[in-house]
C-alpha cells in the first residue's frame, strides 16, 4: 500500500494495515477541521524548560502520532492537552491550547469538564483494583450515572469498541487485575471511551505489549477514529507509520516537523527527522 514507507522504515510491517472508513479520506480533500490548536506552547519544570514554543493543529477524527527520542517531551506535551500536568508542583505552562476554539486554560472552564471531553490512556496500564465492570463504569459513576440499565448498555458498548467484550463478557464482575496485560490496556481504553470523549490521548499504549496485543490495539485505534480525535505518543516508528494520519516529530522539546504521516516518513523536510526515522539516533 505504501511502498515508500516500507523503504524508509527498512523493515516489512508485521501487521497488515486494517482497512477502515477513514482510510481513504486522505487524498484530494481540503484541510480537515482542527480539534486542538496549540500555539507557542512552552512548559517549564521549575527552571528547566521541557517544551519550546510548540505550535500545531491536531485535526479532528484523525490519528495524530507524536514521535521522538526518549525524554524529548512527548508525555509532557500530551499531558498538557487534558491539563493532567496541573498536578505537578512547580510546573509552568505558557502559550495557548484551544479545544475546538476554546482555551483550555480559561479560568471559567472547568478542568473536570475538560477531562471528560479529553480522555487518556497511559503507558502503563492502570486499571483500578475493582471489577472489570466497575472499571468500565468508573467515568459514568463519577459523573453521577447510577442507573443500572444505562451502565450495562454503555459498558457493553465501550467494551465492544475496545475489542474486549467477547473475552470478558462472562466475567464482568471479576477483578480487573486478573486480566492479561493487553486486556488490561484495552480495558483502560474502554474506560476512557465510556464517557464519550471528543479526544482520546494515548501515551505509548503498547509499550508493554507483545505484537499480537499491539496489533489488536492498533486495529482498535483505527476503528475508533471514526468517532474520536486520537493523539498517540509512540516510540515505535512502524506503529506511527501504520496507524497515524499525521505525525509530529519532537526533539529536545521542540517540534521539528509536523505533517501527514506519508510525507513525513517518505520525504522528511528536516535532516534531524530523517536521521531519527532512519534510526541514526534516538
Amino acid at each position: 500500500m505504501r511502498p515508500g514507507l516500507l523503504l524508509a522504515v527498512g523493515r516489512p510491517l508485521a501487521v497488515p494495515r486494517p482497512v477502515g472508513p477513514g482510510g481513504s479520506l486522505r487524498a484530494g480533500e481540503g484541510p480537515p477541521p482542527t480539534a486542538i490548536d496549540l500555539e507557542t506552547v512552552s512548559v517549564w519544570y521549575g527552571k528547566v524548560q521541557a517544551i519550546h514554543n510548540v505550535g500545531m493543529q491536531i485535526p479532528e477524527r484523525r490519528i495524530t502520532a507524536l514521535i521522538g527520542p526518549s525524554g524529548c517531551g512527548k508525555s509532557t506535551l500530551i499531558r498538557c492537552l487534558n491539563r493532567l500536568n496541573d498536578l505537578i508542583e512547580g510546573i509552568r505552562i505558557e502559550g495557548h491550547i484551544r479545544l475546538h476554539g476554546q482555551d483550555i486554560h480559561d479560568p471559567t472552564l472547568d478542568v473536570i469538564e475538560l477531562r471528560k471531553r479529553v480522555g487518556m490512556v497511559f503507558q502503563k496500564s492502570n486499571p483500578f483494583p475493582k471489577s472489570i465492570y466497575e472499571n468500565a463504569a468508573y467515568g459514568l459513576r463519577v459523573n453521577g450515572e447510577h442507573r443500572r440499565a444505562v451502565l450495562d448498555q454503555v459498558i457493553e458498548q465501550s467494551l465492544r469498541r475496545a475489542a474486549l467484550w467477547e473475552e470478558v463478557k462472562d466475567r464482568l464482575h471479576t477483578n480487573a487485575l486478573r486480566l492479561s496485560g493487553g486486556q488490561q490496556q484495552r480495558l483502560c481504553i474502554a474506560r476512557a471511551i465510556a464517557v464519550e470523549p471528543e479526544v482520546l490521548l494515548l501515551d505509548e499504549p503498547c509499550s508493554a505489549l507483545d505484537p499480537i496485543a499491539t496489533a489488536k490495539i492498533e486495529e482498535l485505534l483505527y476503528s475508533l477514529k471514526e468517532r474520536y480525535t486520537i493523539v498517540i505518543v509512540t516510540h515505535n516508528m512502524q506503529q506511527a507509520a501504520r496507524v497515524s494520519d499525521d505525525t509530529g516529530f519532537l526533539l529536545m522539546g521542540e517540534l521539528i516537523e509536523f505533517g501527514a504521516t506519508d510525507t513525513l516518513f517518505t520525504t522528511p523536510q528536516d535532516a534531524r527527522t530523517e536521521a531519527y526515522i532512519t534510526g541514526r539516533f534516538g
Partner: protein, 552 residues
C-alpha cells in the same frame, strides 16, 4: 622460582558472609526465646490456678494440724558455716481467713510427723472470706437436718445447692433490678423537681402542678419500695433457713446459708473427669462472672468487657481521625517545610509519656468538656458530675489521642504506596480530587490503614497509666451498656484488664492468694489483644486479596 599457587576459591570471604547471618539469627533467637519464656511463665503460673489440687492434712511435731494446699516449697536460708544438707519448708494455703486471720502458713518439712490426704476434706468457695478447707459437719433445711453419715451429708448438700442458688438468684434479681428500677425512677423524679427549682418554676401554678405530680410519683414509688422490701425480707428469711455447717481441721465451726456457697467439692475424691469439670467451671467463672472479694476471687468479665469496649471506641475515633489527618498531609497539603515539621511533630507525639496524655485527658476531656456538658445539660445533678468525671468515653478519647500518630504514619505510608497512575487514571476519567481519593486512593490504602489500626489497638489495649486518671476503677457497679435507657452509658466508669492486673497484684490485701489471678488476667489481656488483632488482620487479608486480584 616458586610455582604459581592456585588461587583458593574464595573461602575466606564466604566465611565472613556467614557472620551477619549468625549475628542476626542469634539475636532473633534471643528475642523469640524471651517472648516464649514470658508467655510460658505466664501460662504455667496462670493456667494451674484453677486446677483442684489435693488437700493435705499435715501434723507437725508440736501437735498442731493443718489442712491445706501446697502453695510452694523453698530451701530454708541457712548460714554458710552450717554444712548439713539444706532443709526445705513448704508454704501451705490453709484458707479459713475468718478463723485464722491469715491464709498461709510455713511448715518445716523436717517437723512434719504425718501427712495424709483425707478423703472427706472439702474445699468450700463462698461469697465472703475466701476459701474454707475443712469437713461438712451438718446440713440443715426447713424439713430435715442431716448430720450422721458423711456420705448422706454430702449427698444432701449437693442436692440442696441448686435450689439455694436459685433462691439467691431471685433475691439478687430483686435487689438489683426491681429495687434498682425503683431507685432510677425515683432519681428521675427527684432530678425533675430539682430542675423545676433551678428554673424557678415552683412559683407559678403550672410548675406547682408538676411538682405535685412528681411528689405523688415519689410517694407511690416509696410505697412500692416498702412492699418490695417486705417481700425481700421474707425471701431472705426463708433462704437463711437452709444452712450448712462446716468444721475446720482444728474444730472451728462455721455456719452459713447455702446460698452463700459458690462451689464445694472434695478434691481428694475427685476423678480426673471430675477435676477437669471443676477446672473448666472455675475457668468459666473467671471469664464470664464479675469479681468477688475485692477482685481477688470470681471473674473478670466486666474488665474484659471494659477493655474490649474501650478499645473499640478508641478505634472508632482514632481511625477516622488518623485517616483524615493523613489524607490532608499526603493528598491535599502543599509539601513544604510546614508539612514536614507537622509530620515530625506527629511522629514525636508518639514518644510523649502516656501519663501526660492522661493528665491532658483529665484536664481537657473530663473537666473542661465534661464539665461544660454537665453545666449545659445536667445542671440538676450537680455537684455530682455526670460527664464531668472520668468515664469510658473520655478514656477512649484520651487513648485515641495517644495512638493517633500510629494511624497517621501508617496511613501516610499506605497512601504513598498507592501508585500515582491510579490517581491520574481517575482524574483523566473526569473525577474530582475528592472522588479520586474516595473511590480509588482510599480503598487501595485500607489494608495499610488497618495495619495502623492493629498497632494502635495493641498499644491502646495495653495502656494503663492514662486510664487510671480518666475513668478506670477497680470495681464498677454497672457496665457501660445495659438494659436501662439510654442503654449506652458512655459517662460511666469502667473496669480494665490492665488496671485489674495492677490492682489485684499490688493493691490487694492478700497478695499471695491473688498472684495467680494476676497471671490469668495477663493471659486474658494478651488473649483479648490477640483476638482484636486477628479480627483486624482477617479483614485486612480479605481486602488485600480483593485489591490484589481476588474477587470483588
Amino acid at each position: 622460582m616458586t610455582p604459581a599457587r592456585p588461587a583458593r576459591p574464595g573461602r575466606r570471604p564466604r566465611r565472613f558472609d556467614r557472620i551477619p547471618i549468625w549475628f542476626t539469627g542469634s539475636l532473633l533467637g534471643i528475642a523469640l526465646l524471651m517472648i516464649v519464656g514470658l508467655l510460658g511463665l505466664i501460662m504455667a503460673r496462670g493456667l494451674g490456678t484453677f486446677w483442684p489440687w489435693p488437700l493435705w492434712e499435715v501434723s507437725v511435731a508440736d501437735g498442731t494440724r493443718y489442712l491445706g494446699l501446697v502453695h510452694r516449697t523453698e530451701l530454708i536460708p541457712q548460714p554458710a558455716e552450717r554444712s548439713e544438707s539444706p532443709a526445705r519448708r513448704t508454704l501451705y494455703r490453709i484458707g479459713n481467713r475468718d478463723v485464722y486471720g491469715l491464709d498461709f502458713v510455713w511448715v518445716d518439712d523436717a517437723q512434719i510427723t504425718h501427712r495424709t490426704r483425707p478423703t472427706e476434706a472439702v474445699v468450700l468457695e463462698r461469697l465472703e472470706w475466701g476459701p474454707f478447707y475443712g469437713f461438712v459437719q451438718s446440713v440443715r433445711t426447713p424439713i430435715q437436718a442431716v448430720q450422721d453419715d458423711p456420705a448422706r451429708r454430702w449427698e444432701t448438700l449437693r442436692r440442696e445447692l441448686p435450689p439455694a442458688r436459685r433462691r439467691a438468684r431471685a433475691i439478687r434479681y430483686i435487689e438489683r433490678r426491681v429495687v434498682g428500677n425503683i431507685n432510677t425512677a425515683m432519681e428521675r423524679h427527684r432530678l425533675a423537681l430539682r430542675r423545676l427549682e433551678l428554673r424557678h418554676a415552683l412559683a407559678n401554678p403550672l410548675g406547682q402542678a408538676q411538682q405535685r405530680r412528681h411528689e405523688a410519683a415519689i410517694a407511690d414509688l416509696n410505697a412500692r419500695y416498702a412492699r418490695v422490701a417486705a417481700d425481700l425480707r421474707a425471701k431472705r428469711q426463708e433462704d437463711a433457713q437452709s444452712r450448712a455447717v462446716f468444721a475446720s481441721i482444728d474444730g472451728h465451726v462455721i455456719d452459713l446459708p447455702m446460698s452463700a456457697i459458690v462451689r464445694v467439692y472434695r478434691p481428694n475424691r475427685l476423678s480426673v473427669p471430675g477435676r477437669v469439670g471443676v477446672y473448666l467451671d472455675r475457668l468459666r467463672e473467671f471469664v464470664f462472672d464479675p469479681p468477688r472479694e475485692a477482685n481477688s476471687e470470681g471473674g473478670v468479665a466486666p474488665a474484659i468487657f471494659g477493655t474490649v469496649m474501650m478499645t473499640l471506641l478508641m478505634s472508632l475515633v482514632v481511625v477516622p481521625l488518623g485517616i483524615l489527618a493523613a489524607l490532608y498531609l499526603h493528598e491535599y497539603a502543599r509539601q513544604g517545610w510546614l508539612v514536614s515539621s507537622v509530620r515530625i511533630a506527629v511522629n514525636n507525639l508518639a514518644g510523649v509519656p502516656s501519663i501526660v496524655f492522661g493528665v491532658f485527658g483529665l484536664g481537657f476531656f473530663c473537666y473542661f468538656l465534661g464539665g461544660t456538658i454537665d453545666h449545659l445539660w445536667f445542671p440538676e445533678r450537680l455537684p455530682t458530675p455526670t460527664f464531668g468525671g472520668g468515664g469510658i468515653l473520655w478514656a477512649s478519647l484520651t487513648l485515641a489521642l495517644l495512638t493517633v500518630p500510629v494511624v497517621i504514619v501508617a496511613t501516610e505510608e499506605a497512601l504513598a504506596a498507592v501508585p500515582n497512575g491510579l490517581r491520574e487514571a481517575s482524574l483523566a476519567c473526569g473525577a474530582t480530587k475528592f472522588q479520586t481519593i474516595w473511590r480509588v486512593v482510599l480503598p487501595s490504602a485500607v489494608p495499610g490503614v488497618l495495619t495502623g489500626t492493629i498497632l494502635a489497638m495493641a498499644r491502646g489495649a495495653g495502656e494503663v497509666a492514662p486510664l487510671m486518671i480518666t475513668g478506670v476503677v477497680k470495681l464498677a457497679p454497672d457496665l457501660p451498656i445495659d438494659q436501662v435507657a439510654p442503654f449506652l452509658h458512655l459517662e460511666r466508669k469502667f473496669m480494665h484488664l490492665g488496671f485489674h492486673i495492677y490492682d489485684v497484684g499490688f493493691q490487694s490485701p492478700n497478695v499471695e492468694a491473688s498472684k495467680a489471678m494476676v497471671y490469668m488476667t495477663t493471659l486474658l489481656l494478651l488473649g483479648v489483644v490477640v483476638c482484636l488483632n486477628l479480627a483486624a488482620m482477617q479483614i485486612r487479608g480479605r481486602l488485600r486479596a480483593k485489591l490484589g486480584g481476588g474477587d470483588v
